[in-house]
Symmetry: C2
DNA sequence: GTCAGTGCAAACTTTTTGCAACTAC
DNA sequence: GTAGTTGCAAAAAGTTTGCACTGAC
């Protein structure tokens, strides 16, 4: 897999630039993340790693911090706990979040983000963008209609 | 103050529509929120209310839930805890959040949100939008330059 | 009078931290 | 060898919950 290799390279670059050690745990976490699809949270990542390369929760938190800092992973905060997603080779999209059931859908979107990117933000160097649209999803709308009847 | 009255009216409408009681605590929370400027968190709100009308944390959480549901208040999740802001008569803006110091700046923006609003989102009824731009703010850039020297 | 709402504290959940053991360099 | 990392468990921080009391309707 080309992407995994590129990401690992990027991570090595980041670790070296910041005088962090290249521990097997860190690469195992990165590898696991880029083996999964879509969003994930710490709990998912931790339990997914139980079989192959067991890593403690503390280390996962630590590694995720580095990955977010190195811009290989993006952190979201929708509900009670943090959610993450791959940042490398992951096309721009926004998130629609249902106020009722909390479900989240990704929607591809290039135009909007290119507009945003061309904005001049004085003194601020952007690293990534997140657009959330809150509302009611189709399923929950149907349910509430039925309830009101 | 006109706005406070309008908001209260809206809240009454919402409470009645949903068979909730119109308790003094709820109006005190709403009033406090619309007396403050900018973003706030539960802790700030709670301590700001200590003097005039003391309300328990549990009630503040409860009331905020109702206010978010009634779309009079918007909930954000930047860092460890939830942040809130007024939603009524609060013009569209995005948020620039510094990855280093965590500071948040509001930037007014009408065009972008009008583009988003005109999007057709099949089966999804939007209630509000949040655009976050993560990056490094001017202050932190300066600091890190100095450090690297 | 009734039951939704409140205050309080305890419980819960997610994340952070302290510390001894370990290991990348 | 030595400091940065890890794992574990304890602690912290934010939020939710259980329960008795109160007050809006």
């Amino acid at each position: 897999m080309k992407i995994k290799e590129s990401v690992k390279q990027e991570f090595v670059k980041y670790l070296e630039a910041n005088n962090h050690r290249k521990t097997p745990e860190r690469f195992a976490v990165l590898d696991q993340i880029y083996s999964m699809s879509g969003h994930f949270d710490i709990e998912m990542l931790h339990s997914a790693m139980q079989d192959q390369f067991r890593v403690s929760l503390a280390t996962i938190y630590n590694t995720l911090e580095l990955l977010v800092d190195s811009q290989l992973v993006v952190r979201h905060k929708f509900g009670v706990y943090a959610q993450y997603e791959k940042a490398f080779n992951n096309s721009n999209h926004y998130h629609m979040i249902c106020n009722v059931c909390g479900e989240m859908q990704e929607v591809k979107e290039e135009l909007l983000f290119s507009i945003i990117k061309n904005r001049k933000l004085k003194k601020f160097t952007p690293s990534h963008y997140a657009l959330y649209i809150y509302g009611t999803c189709g399923k929950c709308k149907t349910v509430s209609k039925k309830r009101k009847k």
